[in-house]
């Protein structure tokens, strides 16, 4: 009896470990992979939309500054915005510095304002000098805020890899224990089939539980929401696809594992 309980218990533990390994693997090829994130940013036009938002924000400050909008012409480029977003993304995943250098933007803006003042024969008063300084601060800050919302995250990829290693080792240990208890290799295959089927069912059900909830997510702004919905949908689709394959493999393993028992019957 104890042997039977232990057998079911180990089989359950193996099932959960396989499920955890699937989850960790899907995360490691999605949100824990910076190239995946960059590819998603590109396919969702995030770089272009971030550039547009930054320009819109620049225009907002400029339209109340007494300066002409032409002062912004070519001040920043789409490529520069994309590069700075990538620097920030890289800094999330590695220990490299993710500070955005806005010196060139500020210097260029300052020189353009001085030129505009000269053209208008204006000598700025101390109050105006302060106002110009505040305007430049606002533009630089708007740029920083526009680059991945000025956030500083730290994605611990090494923790995920460590968890995966622990999970794999645990699966091997539990599998050996099951083999030692069950002895018959075909019954062990059936056990593995049960675990695969469990993981498959869970992964498939996950998609149907959450897909309707994430479709209308609206957070921060439309470009971020679109990106988030796309990434989450992709992750759920991956769960569904992997779940379907693992589930079918599980059923096949169960059939193979029970060939002899079924024949006897």
């Amino acid at each position: 009896m104890i042997r039977k309980i232990l057998r079911y218990l180990l089989n359950f533990v193996l099932s959960v470990l396989i499920l955890i390994l699937i989850i960790l693997n899907i995360f490691s090829i999605t949100i824990f992979d910076r190239e995946y994130i960059k590819q998603k940013l590109k396919s969702n036009d995030f770089y272009i939309r971030a550039y547009s938002d930054i320009i819109e924000s620049f225009e907002n400050y400029t339209m109340q500054s007494g300066l002409d909008l032409t002062i912004l012409d070519g001040l920043v480029s789409e490529t520069q915005v994309a590069n700075d977003i990538n620097v920030k993304i890289d800094s999330f995943y590695t220990k490299i510095n993710g500070d955005i250098d806005t010196t060139s933007i500020r210097n260029e803006l300052d020189s353009r304002i001085n030129k505009a003042l000269e053209e208008n024969n204006r000598v700025p008063s101390d109050t105006e000098k302060e106002a110009i300084n505040k305007y430049e601060d606002a533009i630089v800050q708007a740029y920083k805020d526009g680059i991945v919302y000025g956030t500083n995250l730290s994605v611990k990829v090494e923790y995920l890899n460590r968890l995966k290693a622990i999970c794999i080792v645990s699966i091997i240990v539990v599998s050996i224990m099951i083999i030692l208890i069950r002895r018959k290799i075909l019954r062990c295959v059936a056990c593995l089939g049960i675990s695969f089927l469990f993981s498959g069912i869970f992964s498939v059900v996950l998609k149907f539980l959450l897909i309707n909830k994430i479709g209308n997510i609206l957070i921060l702004d439309t470009k971020f929401s679109a990106l988030l919905i796309n990434v989450l949908t992709d992750i759920l689709n991956k769960f569904f696809n992997v779940g379907l394959v693992i589930g079918i493999v599980g059923i096949i393993f169960i059939l193979i594992g029970n060939i002899k028992v079924n024949k006897k019957a």
Partner: protein
């Protein structure tokens, strides 16, 4: 066959047991996560209200324009200016015209209406030239409202209490950044106050 079916059942029992364990261990966290998802999961298609009309008895709009949408025009004849009038004060609204702040009343509702625009050329750069007695006309999808300017003042941008919110008298407060001919970040606001003198509701 019996063994195969029993193994399949075991897999489903494992799923049920696992869900139960996870639920028992993380019930509060799961419900918090679900609440968070529900909070940020907004069906925006339901928020777009059409056919903006007003209940003349209660003076409340029956349906509001969608945020960020144009629902009429604003004219200041003394400045020879006509701009699109939007609900909202987002960057894209202010880029294109005059915005009606969502925190105040709508024209026709009998209260304070707060509207704003940039002090940029072609928008409200010449607002300080408006004099007492000048008219501001709002021609909206549900009616036409004529206001007469009676006062103007310069306020610091943080002095929001000077733009009093009330519902005793319909007043339009139209403002822009000040100075309008300065350079740099403007921290003052030029506010023009106008009273409703004429209104006409469309069918």
């Amino acid at each position: 066959m019996k063994a195969t079916i029993s193994d399949l059942i075991v897999a489903f029992i494992y799923v049920a047991v696992f869900v139960l364990i996870v639920y028992c261990l993380f019930a509060s966290k799961i419900s918090l996560a679900m609440r968070m998802i529900d909070t940020i999961s907004i069906d925006t298609s339901k928020k777009v209200l059409k056919d903006v009309t007003i209940d003349l008895e209660t003076r409340n709009l029956k349906a509001y324009p969608a945020f960020g949408t144009k629902y009429g025009t604003i004219s200041i004849p003394s400045l020879n200016l006509t701009k699109d009038f939007y609900f909202g004060d987002s960057l894209s609204v202010l880029r294109n015209g005059i915005g009606n702040s969502g925190g105040a009343y709508f024209p026709g509702e009998g209260g304070s209406i707060i509207a704003m625009g940039h002090n940029y050329k072609g928008i409200l750069k010449d607002l300080p030239k408006v004099k007492n007695g000048d008219q501001i006309i709002l021609d909206l999808i549900y009616g036409k409202f004529v206001y007469e300017v009676y006062d103007a003042e310069i306020v610091y941008y943080e002095d929001s209490d000077k733009l009093e919110l009330q519902r005793e008298e319909e007043r339009l407060m139209l403002y822009t950044c000040y100075p309008t001919d300065g350079f740099g970040h403007a921290v003052d606001r030029y506010v023009v106050y106008a009273r409703l003198v004429e209104e006409e509701f469309y069918d």
